[in-house]
């Protein structure tokens, strides 16, 4: 029942969003839908903690704690995005009026997007996971190109092409895996089901699994935004409407990682963890490292955040690559933290971009005086994003590097820390340049254009929630969340952290 509701809600919301002719009704419908979804998810998570694994629809759906975490992310960010969209999407960046039809389409696609992501993380069949990921690309491409400007079309095109190509490679990986399953005596009709594959996992031919894992990593890695397959990421994130950027960065990338890690669990059965860890570590550190120069030289606030996503994806993957339960705990926790803080950052950045009518950071100044709330939140969020205690992002990064040192990955740990420090400096430099500085009231010219005040009330609520969450998680991890994370760690490594 829950599971049915769980898929039905986004569909119903999507359809409902197409009906009204008045813009005013759209946002409440959407918010109600996503809130409802969120409640269902909470119930579902309770069940997961209780029963460990939930299967449904003739074994098509397989939900364990790891999926549960991703579901939590999707629904939470989905709710926040809906809240934010209510205030944000009714204003267009050029100050033109927004057509009802476009907005309806936006909400429709948003729901479908959420639905596809939910499918990705809950499907048992790895082939269906693939299909789901491919559809997320196709759907979200429309969201990326929502504004229909030249740049957004360019971004959407690159997004489609690169991700489709990448995912095609993932398909090869899946085929190889299937082949391996059949050749090691698996039943054909079950050999794409994750739970079945896992049960025969140790019988696989290692050389096939190696190859399969490489294809999967490159393929889903493209979707997850791992360097050097990340090139679509900054374009899509910066050109999409802000709520969509938040969704892309906060959840979609994690879905890619989810798929990789799911597969690596399988591959580890026959290969042992060393091989996959090595690959993950390499791409993880490469992603962090490659984000550094672009963060340093960035001029555009949303691209900055996009590159920061690249960095954080790298951090998460490095965490998985270290392979210690603690680092995996950290990586999972970081997924959550990054989703929250990046959502927050995109929201604030979107508000600023709307207020100043530009994404160019050199033209945005002294945000704390113009928009006291947004500016402050952006600054605090920037600190959190850069990994400063007492916010939870620090903790997850801490777990990762702790495990890195524990496992004696000296070079990796040193590089990790070095990159993080440089990024801290660069990021804070940009963020402070935007938020602080000479009071604009002194320069009369700009004062005329920009009125003091926030963009929307719903935006305030939408960015206050994640801010509170990262503050809270920095000092207090709820027992249920801990259980969820720990159960996920058990799924991945076979043992929990405590």
């Amino acid at each position: 029942m829950d599971i049915t509701l769980f898929f039905l809600i986004p569909i119903i919301t999507a359809i409902l969003c197409l009906i009204p002719n008045n813009i005013r009704w759209l946002a409440p419908i959407q918010i109600a839908g996503t809130s409802f979804l969120f409640l269902v998810v909470i119930r579902l998570l309770n069940n997961i903690l209780q029963y460990k694994v939930i299967k449904a629809f003739n074994n098509l759906i397989y939900i364990d704690a790891f999926s549960g975490l991703l579901i939590l992310l999707i629904s939470t960010v989905g709710l926040l995005v809906s809240l934010y969209s209510a205030g944000y999407m009714t204003k267009s960046p050029e100050g033109k009026t927004v057509s009802t039809w476009k907005l309806k389409r936006y909400y429709f696609l948003l729901n479908i997007f959420i639905l596809t992501m939910l499918t990705v993380v809950t499907a048992n069949n790895i082939g269906l996971v693939w299909v789901g990921i491919e559809i997320t690309t196709l759907v979200s491409a429309f969201l990326v190109g929502y504004y229909n400007k030249q740049t957004s079309i360019e971004a959407a095109w690159k997004y489609i092409i690169l991700c489709t190509v990448g995912i095609a490679f993932a398909m090869i990986g899946i085929i190889l895996c299937y082949y391996g399953a059949i050749h090691s005596g698996g039943i054909e009709s079950l050999s794409l089901n994750w739970d079945y594959l896992l049960s025969i996992g140790n019988k696989f031919d290692p050389s096939i699994m190696k190859l399969a894992f490489v294809f999967i990593l490159i393929g889903y890695g493209t979707k997850a935004g791992l360097a050097p397959m990340h090139s679509w990421l900054p374009d899509a994130h910066s050109e999409a409407p802000t709520p969509v950027s938040a969704l892309l960065s906060g959840v979609l990338l994690k879905c890619g990682i989810y798929s990789i890690i799911r597969f690596s669990i399988l591959a580890n059965e026959s290969l042992g963890a060393a091989f996959t860890n090595q690959m993950l570590l390499f791409f993880g550190i490469l992603s962090i490292g490659l984000s550094v120069p672009f963060i340093i030289t960035q001029h555009q606030i949303k691209r900055l955040l996009a590159y920061s996503s690249l960095e954080h994806i790298g951090i998460i993957v490095t965490g998985f690559g270290i392979g210690n339960p603690i680092s995996i705990f950290g990586a999972l926790f970081h997924m959550l933290n990054h989703a929250m803080v990046k959502t927050l950052m995109f929201f604030s950045a979107g508000n600023l971009a709307l207020k100043f009518q530009t994404k160019d950071m050199s033209k945005i100044k002294c945000a704390v005086n113009i928009m006291p709330f947004t500016g402050t939140v952006l600054l605090i969020g920037g600190l959190a994003l850069a990994g400063s205690p007492p916010f939870s992002v620090f903790l997850s990064e801490f777990y990762i590097i702790k495990a890195g040192i524990f496992e004696k990955h000296w070079v990796i740990s040193t590089l990790f820390l070095l990159f993080l420090v440089i990024i801290f400096g660069a990021l804070m430099h940009h963020i402070m340049g935007v938020t602080l500085g000479n009071n604009l009231n002194n320069t009369t010219e700009e004062k005329a254009n920009i009125q003091k005040g926030e963009v929307s009330k719903s935006g305030i609520v939408a960015s206050l929630i994640p801010l509170l969450i990262i503050c809270l998680l920095g000092v207090w991890m709820p027992q249920s969340l801990f259980k969820l994370l720990n159960a996920s760690v058990e799924i991945i490594t076979g043992k929990g952290i405590l």
Partner: protein, 223 residues
């Protein structure tokens, strides 16, 4: 009798189809007329359908035959038609001034094929490659598809390149595992058909706002 015929004919038919499959990819790589590229693609897909059918009959797997049917409808009819529609709509017929000229592309393709065939004989791959006749061909086609995407400027050619890659993957599926389970295969096919429609829409949008479908003009976002 028919069974025997099939048994006799299968290997040679398979190998002919394989060669045609590869040849079509090379032709696509070497051609610069969009319409003929689409035609070559359709023909390549047909070969795939034939192979699938052969495999299906020889293993008497009804699912595989169903898959072949869907593939025929999709790849030989819907996708080429959709692409032709886009070509007519955008009125772009020729790949002008590609990044890598057709002859050079063909040369690179040949080298690629040689490399792949060489690589698949290394010990690590031999295990996989040995049991499959099409493995190296499929991998070559995938890489050729990618090469086409890299070497061409028109959005449309890129789509074709993508689908050539997809054909390679399909070949791999058919060859290695005699097709995926039906649900998955359905999903994938559906994905492709939706994909071509959506990409078609995007090509039209590109045409609309850039007045060209030259992808290399889409390079404002950098850094």
């Amino acid at each position: 009798m028919t069974n025997l015929l099939i048994k006799e004919l299968t290997p040679s038919l398979l190998s002919y189809s394989t060669v045609i499959l590869l040849l079509m990819s090379i032709l696509i790589a070497g051609s610069n007329r969009l319409q003929s590229i689409v035609k070559f693609y359709a023909f390549q897909s047909l070969c795939l359908v034939v192979i699938t059918l052969i495999v299906g009959f020889s293993t008497s797997n009804s699912e595989t035959i169903r898959i072949a049917t869907i593939t025929f409808i999709g790849k030989c009819l819907i996708i080429p038609l959709a692409l032709n529609f886009v070509i007519n709509k955008t009125q772009v017929h020729k790949e002008v001034d590609p990044i890598i000229s057709p002859p050079t592309t063909v040369l690179i393709v040949c080298i690629l094929i040689a490399l792949v065939y060489g690589l698949t004989s290394t010990p690590n791959f031999a295990k996989i490659a040995y049991s499959l006749g099409l493995f190296d061909t499929a991998i070559s086609i995938i890489l050729i598809g990618l090469l086409i995407m890299i070497s061409r400027r028109k959005a449309l050619t890129q789509i074709v390149g993508l689908y050539v890659m997809e054909n390679g993957i399909f070949a791999l599926t058919v060859d290695t595992v005699f097709g995926m389970p039906f649900v998955v295969e359905m999903g994938i096919s559906l994905d492709l058909f939706i994909g071509v429609l959506i990409m078609g829409i995007w090509v039209l949008r590109i045409k609309q706002s850039f007045d060209s479908i030259d992808v290399s003009k889409l390079s404002k976002l950098k850094g």
